[in-house]
């Protein structure tokens, strides 16, 4: 595989006594989407702002396409950036912004801009201040994608987008990835990146707590099932069943959390009661994610 498009090594940022990012090691390869996840205030945006050269690292280093973002200005022609908190002069229209930025990046690709505008359903003639949150986000996306960059740094890109536009956006990301673009995609919620990211990096209070593929995380994830019975049940039916770590019962419905294979628990449920229906509540990574978030995920961390 070719060299990483984004590399950080022991990247650290301190603001006075607060360490916002601590010894972060992260690589993003060309043609790869890395989901950069963590609760609000975990250090995602600080990391991203160092990658764009807005902040100087306190120690450690970061490189984008082989050069230092704070020194190499020309490098930014090859980066597309969507800030988490997008601000544009409220009197400026989308077209004015795309033309201006296009010029700064060495030329406007009108056809590409028009294509993006149409696919996202944006009215580019309206001033930014008159746009809804979702439409503002579209302005941010167009300017991030318009020059077909080699690296995309997207800070909470899906916030404010309706589901249809989100899907179109995901298509844009996939197309970019197919062209070999490296994508760092930050979010504070998992479902936003789960389907598109090849790897997930989870950051909490400035430290990486896990980096692994979605598949690996899924293997480690505990499953949360909702079982509906024909009659009221008690928690006792799951006593001593291997893998069951949590049981909650409300009348005929039991919610169980299973670590590992689900077979034994289902066996117990069908043996000791009349099982009617199973709802898969937490087959995604949300539970694991939450446990990593709140700091109870040491187990996972150690297995890394």
């Amino acid at each position: 595989m070719s060299e990483a498009a984004i590399t950080t090594s022991k990247l650290t940022k301190r603001f006075g006594t607060l360490t916002a990012v601590s010894e972060l090691d992260l690589d993003v390869m060309p043609g790869e989407v890395v989901g950069f996840l963590g609760p609000n205030g975990a250090g995602k945006t600080t990391t991203i702002r160092m990658l764009l050269g807005f902040l100087n690292p306190s120690s450690g280093s970061c490189r984008v396409l082989g050069s230092s973002p704070s020194r190499d200005v020309a490098l930014r022609r090859r980066i597309g950036y969507l800030p988490g908190d997008l601000k544009v002069d409220p009197t400026m229209t989308g077209h004015e912004l795309f033309d201006w930025f296009g010029t700064l990046r060495g030329g406007v690709d009108r056809r590409r801009v028009d294509e993006l505008v149409e696919r996202l359903g944006l009215d580019p003639g309206r001033p930014f201040g008159a746009l809804s949150k979702g439409n503002r986000q579209k302005v941010g996306l167009v300017q991030a994608f318009q020059h077909d960059p080699d690296v995309l740094v997207l800070d909470e890109p899906t916030s404010g987008l309706d589901p249809l536009v989100q899907r179109e956006f995901m298509r844009l990301v996939r197309e970019a990835v197919a062209r070999g673009t490296a994508v760092l995609f930050s979010s504070h919620i998992l479902p936003a990146v789960e389907r598109i990211a090849s790897r997930i990096a989870i950051i909490r209070t400035g430290k990486l707590v896990a980096v692994s593929t979605v598949g690996e995380l899924l293997d480690k994830a505990r499953r949360r099932l909702e079982l509906h019975f024909a009659e009221p049940v008690s928690t006792a039916i799951f006593d001593g069943v291997p893998g069951v770590v949590e049981v909650e019962v409300e009348g005929q419905i039991a919610q169980i959390v299973i670590d590992g294979p689900v077979g034994p628990a289902l066996g117990a449920a069908t043996e000791k009661a009349t099982l009617l229906r199973i709802n898969n509540v937490g087959d995604d990574l949300e539970d694991l994610f939450v446990s990593l978030y709140d700091g109870s995920g040491h187990e996972v961390e150690e297995e890394q």
Partner: protein, 267 residues
Amino acid sequence: MLSILGQMVFRRRFSLMWWSLSLIAVDALYVLAYPPLRNNASLDKTFSNLSPSTQTLLGLSDGTLITSPVGYLNSQFYANVLPIVLLIFAVGLATWAVAGDEAAGTLELLLANPVSRVRVAAGRIAAMLAMLLALTLVCGGALAAMAPLVALNEGLPLYRIITATVASALLALVFAALAFTIGAATGRRGTAIAVSVTVAVFGYILEGVAQQVGFLHPVRLLNPWHWMLSSDPLGHGGSWQAFVLPLVVSAVLFALGAIRFASRDLR
């Protein structure tokens, strides 16, 4: 740099138009008010009895009569109102150039483009200079055009109205440069405005007081107000202190601000 400059001017074209129209209206007001004042000899007595420091602040040194064109324009306009109006205009632009844009959160997106921070700073300083120059020429030009209508140019070459307006703008520029530097170096918009305006007001007061307070005399040499007022650009054509010194000081301030801005963390 041109696209940075052009963008800043373009976004402020209406604001610049309104400032220009307002200053033309102010010019017209001064022209209209001159004829009744010129024939009021008692005013000359009143003003000639004022303390020398007050006379200096009014630009009435060397026995210039307030009813003369130079005395009238200096005391009512060039020694106070005009520099302060231009200062408000220029400090606003200079503060926005980095700190204001940064505080609004809009600077960051621009800096994600392949433009260096020095280029952004230079483009915006150039835009501010261009707009200040435009406003200065409009204001001076309009006054020079209207002055002959009421003999406001008796014993006063019309070009002096232009050069005196330029001198006021250069005075304003020093404080704008200070605002730029503080804003660019710290990213703090409020601090930039507060410090630069305070220094300007302080300088104005000092120029009046220092004349009578011996130990303050040397301090006057550091005071941009003194550079302009003591050389009387309207009555006597001014000196290098009124024209060159502000440019040099501003250039140094701009450079210091841009250099610090280039390497610091954005807020």
